[in-house]
């Protein structure tokens, strides 16, 4: 192959004449950024001081103390139905919200892809049915759909009565639906660790087989290999999971280290890590701009981004270091440190260590649901099977089926946006339908679908707050009950905002990561 001649070096600095500063694009850009930031901080300050003053006037002073007090409510469901503090109640509400979000996202994605592809099917009936689904669910307000599902559950199923006592497979009633369930036993932690290890190894094997296929050009059945490895771990792990008990030792050792090393060490390490991360980012950024012929000219955006990273890194380091100072100070003054930087790592590792041991037995137990009559009223057994409440079922079905319709439309639009010529060109090269889809059409469709798909995920997450309409104990419902009782509206609002912002940011971060990966492939 002929190597092209080296390109001429990029100019080191701008070769334009300097304009007066009020017409200088660079300076103006910076001025606007700084002015905007100042205005924002100022506005925020006014709002907060005003709100606090108003609250004080009504006799309720803003404080976080209520979080540590008993909430005075019980939750209808969740990992903690009888929370001791408001904080625990809110945490249970958050987990209930996440339960809907993660499973809803997975099901809506799979179902949406299926329906979106069906919509394009050449089979007239299949495509009509898919279209009917999309039109129906997209055009009815979500709240109406949620009420609809609730009405179905409450009215369509026979009541739980003493005559229905006993085990069954699927037991619907106005109290929800109970289904068979795998109930985790003591060994589940070991088993879970083995499965995670298995998934990582399966992924490595899969990559290895793909590489082999590309370098040697024979069919290596990469997918089959990966899946087999995972299945092997799932099956063998059922019996050999006690070996993962060694993790217990590892976690105890970590917990001991955390406990033994003074907090100071962590604070200094964290400060160093913050500086290192900022430095690493800046260095990587500069490296990418370095060509064989010298540095490429940096734009204002580059300078802005680099200085921002530098400032944030330094600020974080300062915070950690001041924490150190605080710890030292509190030693001298004999008060408890204001910043507690152990970050609960020691209790966390202690907790994990206590979960891993070498005990055998199956990690999961298969159980069928049961109707029991402990008092005058029949109810689902808490011990066996799994009962989903009407609230959970209606909100889950509502947001999932609703989002599915939008995702189906995205998938359809994405596939259709790939020009027909792409598929024809690969056909002319002898590729059959499956290869054509996988190697040519879907990679291009995926790039188009990904950004709007991310916003559908965000919508699903945010729409779970409609759980309040069907008395599902998610974060908004729990929060509202708490602020009704304590009057701490502002604090609860801040918690809601913080929580939804965190969920949204994590979701967008994941989507953006894939988006960038796809973009890099493009150009």
């Amino acid at each position: 192959m002929v190597t092209p001649p080296d390109p001429p070096p990029p100019p080191k600095a701008s070769q334009h004449a300097r304009p007066p500063f009020w017409r200088n694009e660079v300076i103006l850009k910076w001025v606007v950024q700084v002015a905007f930031l100042t205005a924002f901080v100022w506005l925020f300050w006014i709002v907060v001081t005003q709100a606090t003053a108003n609250l004080r006037a009504t006799g309720i002073s803003f404080s976080w103390d209520f979080l540590r007090e008993p909430p005075g409510i019980k939750l209808s469901e969740g990992f903690n139905t009888d929370p001791a503090t408001s904080l625990e109640a809110l945490a249970a509400g958050m987990v209930n919200m996440l339960r809907i979000t993660w499973s809803g996202i997975i099901v809506a994605t799979l179902l949406g892809t299926l329906i979106g592809v069906s919509r394009l099917s050449s089979n007239w009936i299949v495509s009509r049915i898919a279209n009917g689904y999309i039109e129906f669910f997209r055009n009815i307000p979500l709240l109406v759909q949620i009420f609809f599902w609730q009405a179905i559950i409450i009215s369509a199923f026979p009541d739980l009565t003493a005559e229905r006592a006993g085990a069954g497979w699927i037991i619907p009633s106005p109290k929800g639906i109970a289904i068979p369930w795998l109930i985790p036993q003591a060994g589940r932690w070991q088993y879970m660790a083995l499965i995670i290890a298995g998934a990582v190894i399966a992924r490595l094997v899969y990559r290895r087989r793909i590489d082999l296929q590309e370098s040697e050009g024979r069919e290596t059945h990469a997918m089959a290999w990966g899946v087999s490895v995972l299945v092997l771990f799932l099956a063998a792990g059922w019996f050999i999971h006690p070996v993962m008990g060694v993790l217990g030792w590892l976690f105890s050792a970590l917990a001991w280290t955390m406990g033994a090393a003074p907090v100071l060490v962590f604070q200094i390490l964290l400060a160093a890590a913050a500086i290192w991360a900022a430095f690493h980012y800046i260095k990587g950024y500069l490296d990418r701009r370095r060509t064989p012929a010298g540095m490429a000219k940096m734009t204002d955006e580059d300078y802005f981004r680099l200085s921002l990273v530098g400032v944030v890194g330094l600020a974080a380091a300062l915070l950690f270091i001041s924490g150190t100072g605080d710890t030292l100070l509190s030693h001298v003054l004999g008060r408890t440190p204001f910043f507690n930087m152990n970050w609960g790592l020691e209790p966390l590792f202690d907790f994990l260590a206590s979960r891993f041991d070498f005990s055998g037995g199956s990690p999961l137990r298969f159980t069928r649901p049961e109707v029991v009559v402990p008092t005058r009223f029949a109810q689902y057994s808490q011990e066996v099977g799994k009962a989903f409440s009407p609230g959970y079922l209606s909100i889950w079905t509502g947001v999932t089926l609703y989002t599915t319709a939008f995702i189906a439309e995205l998938v359809r639009a994405g596939i259709m946006a790939v020009p027909k010529g792409q598929s024809e060109a690969s056909q002319a090269l002898g590729m059959r339908r499956g290869r054509r889809m996988r190697l040519v059409v879907l990679p291009q469709a995926f790039r188009i679908i990904l950004p709007p798909l991310g916003s559908q995920y965000l919508n699903l997450a945010k729409n779970t707050s409609l759980g309040i309409a069907v008395a599902y104990a998610e974060i908004v419902q729990v929060g509202q009950t708490i602020f009704n009782q304590t009057g701490q509206a502002l604090a609860v609002f801040l918690i809601w905002m913080g929580f939804f912002a965190a969920v949204s940011l994590i979701l967008s971060a994941v989507v953006n990561y894939y988006n960038r990966k796809m973009k890099l492939v493009e150009r």
Binding site: M1, V2, T3, P4, E214, S215, E216, G217, R218, E219, P419, G421, Q422, E424, A425, S426, Q427, A428, L429, G430, M431, R432, R435, L439, V440, P443, Q444, R447, V521, E522, R523
Partner: protein
Amino acid sequence: MTADATKTAGTPAIICENVGKWFGDFAALRGVSCTIEHGEVVVVIGPSGSGKSTFIRCINHLENHQQGRIVVDGIELTNDLRNIDAIRREVGMVFQQFNLFPHLTVLGNITLAPIWVRNQTRTQAEETAMSLLERVGIPEQANKYPGQLSGGQQQRVAIARALAMNPKIMLFDEPTSALDPEMIKEVLDVIKELARSDMTTIVVSHEMGFAREVADRVMFFDYGSIVEEGTPEHFFTNPQNERTKLFLSQIL
């Protein structure tokens, strides 16, 4: 392999008998019959909408003909997937709009089908790809993406991509119609070089100079059938049919 070889020996490259194709009620091909020999270079001309593209797209089954017979290199084109695959192995195609895969590099475009359809190793496929890029004159573009190339370069990559499957027959559907004038020559030169080798070639083109120079035979399409055919000599100096005369007078 031996079966293929015996087939190739006596039979023409392409036989079409009374081929018909409809889009709804509209008849795009109305009984096209022709025989194209191995190594022959055929240039197809005709007004827009006359069925030229439909005709060559039927040959590799991008369109499904509804009447008559098409036999490519001794293999009859039916709905049998095995036959369709076999014929697509023999036939390469270049499109007016290039249709390169934008998410793959030039090298990725050329090696995709050899690796996944022909089960070649990556190194082997890349070697072939590089020699083909030399042949079409742009080896230095191997690691760029299609979006970074000029139209003429893209079309040359498309030709290399088709050649990488080592076809016996090449179909070109107006390969220069989407190009700026200064790029037409670079693409035509590549096609000329191919035509002079013993590749069976069908080119839909309005480049009359090119047709005169390389065609063994010129076919004139109108309203979905072959109105007139003959050597370029005959065709450009002494056309018989009125419609041919009219078309040539408009285009020349």
